[in-house]
């Protein structure tokens, strides 16, 4: 049995020979006709998958960029709109304020004018009244004094002086 074991671990020359030939033939045939095309096909597929993944990633990034661009544009547009609206509001406010100012100015002017007119009319009226009152007073006094008093310039001056002291504005 030990001897048999011995033959188990001592390689037989014939089998070494045949194994070498068979293995080498096997290797070269497979190398040329199997491994090369198979590995190339697998590699080509790997590369295609890698390429498609990369381009998909690129497309995704581009998409994201576009989206962010869009967002930026939208944001800008929104800001612009805000700006325009604000400007319009400002202009409107300004216009209103201006119009208001001008209107009140005009009104003030009108009132001023009216008041000046009234003053003037009042002065005319007062002068008129004064004259009438003087005439009346002269008449009355003439009537009372029996026409002794002559219608002279001195007399008229005297009456005016009296009348000046009377304040008609009090009425």
């Amino acid at each position: 049995m030990v001897l048999l074991m011995n033959s188990l671990v001592s390689p037989a020359i014939g089998l070494v020979f045949w194994t070498t030939i068979i293995f080498l033939l096997f290797f070269f045939i497979l190398k040329k006709f199997a491994w090369k095309p198979i590995l190339n096909a697998v590699k080509a597929r790997d590369e295609m998958i890698k390429g498609s993944l990369a381009s998909a990633e690129k497309a995704r990034k581009e998409m994201a960029k576009l989206q962010s661009d869009n967002e930026a544009i939208l944001k800008k547009a929104r800001e612009e709109r805000e700006g325009i609206l604000k400007e319009a509001r400002d202009v409107r406010d300004k216009l209103i304020a201006e119009a208001k100012g001008r209107a009140s100015e005009e009104a003030d002017k009108l009132v001023e004018k009216a008041r000046a007119g009234i003053e003037r009319e009042k002065a005319i009226a007062l002068a008129d009244i004064r004259e009438q009152v003087a005439n009346l007073s002269v008449d009355i006094a003439s009537k009372l004094l029996g026409e002794r008093l002559k219608q002279t310039g001195e007399q008229q001056k005297l009456i005016d002086n009296y009348l000046k002291d009377v304040d008609f504005n009090k009425n």
Binding site: M1, L3, L4, M5, S7, L8, V9, S10, P11, A12, I13, G14, L15, V16, F17, W18, T19, T20, I22, F23, L25, F26, F27, I29, L30, K31, F33, A34, W35, K36, P37, I38, L39, A41, V42, A44, R45, M48
Partner: protein, 338 residues
């Protein structure tokens, strides 16, 4: 693994049992290479076997080719005899005039033995498989794997990604892929045909034969040495960081290291496969040792368990051999880092 089905084995067993069943020789006979493919021994002692061609080369007689039937049962033919007992058991010897074997000069035996037939069969099967696989790749192009591709491609990719690229590296692995793939599938298929007991050409113990593992280990050895770069040889003959007076010690140690690596490859594969076969055959032998059919279910249960384990070992050893080959190659082509 067995050269005959169980029913035949029983016949064989009972025939031998009369002169007491010896499990040792029985097992070793099944593991060893043989010139004939024994199928069963009939009750009258005659054996049914496939007789394989014998090819002998010797200086005196030249080349002789004949069927091993001519040498069956200790018969002599052309002065040759197949020894059945003694030191030269299983070997073909020259018979001297006095009828004894010439133990000095043995004819060189290039016979197509059982292992060679098993080898041829597994290689032809593998060739057929991979050539048709390659053809199917030509057809499918770069589309997804179909049919047999989806079964074999993961194994090929495993060898590429987890053995070649992982050890040799992204840049240099491609050169060694054909060898690594070939050796992986060669070992795997030969392991598997050794596991299937019947019929011939299944059951030949190919990767459990040291001649076969020797050739494989030598291939890895030569590829490693021929790939070795300057750095590799420098580490052997002028190991950096070692004082020069130590080199007479270091160089032999390094050279032993070169030899021991493939030697370990050879022994590992041979021992693993042989051990598995011995265990299975021992479990079967139990039936004949106890001479009882009651043992059979237990034996069979254990054998089934062992066969499952052996199936794992078949893949594992193919993987280990390929992995270590890749590792040795990577050590030979490694660039200096410092």
């Amino acid at each position: 693994m067995f050269s005959f089905p169980l029913s035949a084995q029983e016949e064989h067993g009972t025939a031998v049992a009369e002169e007491e069943f010896k499990p040792g020789p029985f097992i070793l006979e099944h593991i060893a290479d043989s010139h004939e493919w024994h199928i069963l021994t009939k009750k009258d002692g005659e054996s049914l076997a496939i007789y394989l061609p014998v090819i002998l080369v010797s200086k005196e007689k030249g080349i002789d080719v004949f069927s091993s039937r001519k040498l069956a049962h200790g018969k002599q033919y052309k002065g040759y005899r197949l020894e059945e007992e003694g030191d030269l058991k299983g070997k073909i010897v020259n018979v001297k005039e006095d009828g004894t074997a010439d133990e000095e000069i043995l004819p060189l035996d290039f016979s197509i033995t059982k292992a060679v037939v098993g080898l041829l069969f597994s290689v032809l099967f593998a060739l057929w498989l991979f050539l048709s696989l390659s053809r199917s790749y030509r057809k499918t192009g770069i589309s997804h794997p179909k049919g047999i591709q989806s079964f074999l491609e993961p194994i090929i990719l495993f060898v590429r990604d987890d053995i070649a690229i992982a050890n040799i590296g992204e840049h240099k692995y491609e050169k060694y892929m054909p060898y690594l793939l070939t050796v992986f599938f060669f070992i795997l298929f030969n392991n598997l045909i050794g596991l299937i007991p019947f019929p011939p050409p299944f059951g030949a113990n190919v990767t459990g034969n040291i001649a076969v593992t020797l050739v494989l280990a030598l291939c890895t050895f030569f590829i490693t040495q021929f790939s070795g770069n300057k750095n590799y040889w420098k580490h052997i003959f002028a190991t950096p960081g070692v004082p020069f007076w130590l080199l007479p010690v270091m160089i032999p140690v390094e050279l032993i290291g070169i030899i021991s690596k493939p030697f370990a490859l050879m022994i590992r594969l041979f021992a693993n496969i042989t051990a598995g076969h011995i265990i299975v055959l021992s479990l079967v032998s139990l039936i004949f040792i106890f001479k009882s059919l009651m043992v059979a279910p237990v034996s069979i249960a254990f054998v089934i368990f062992m066969d499952c384990l052996e199936l794992l070992v078949a893949f594992l050893q193919a993987y280990v051999f390929t992995l270590l080959s890749a590792l040795f190659i990577s050590m030979a082509i490694k660039e200096e880092h410092h």
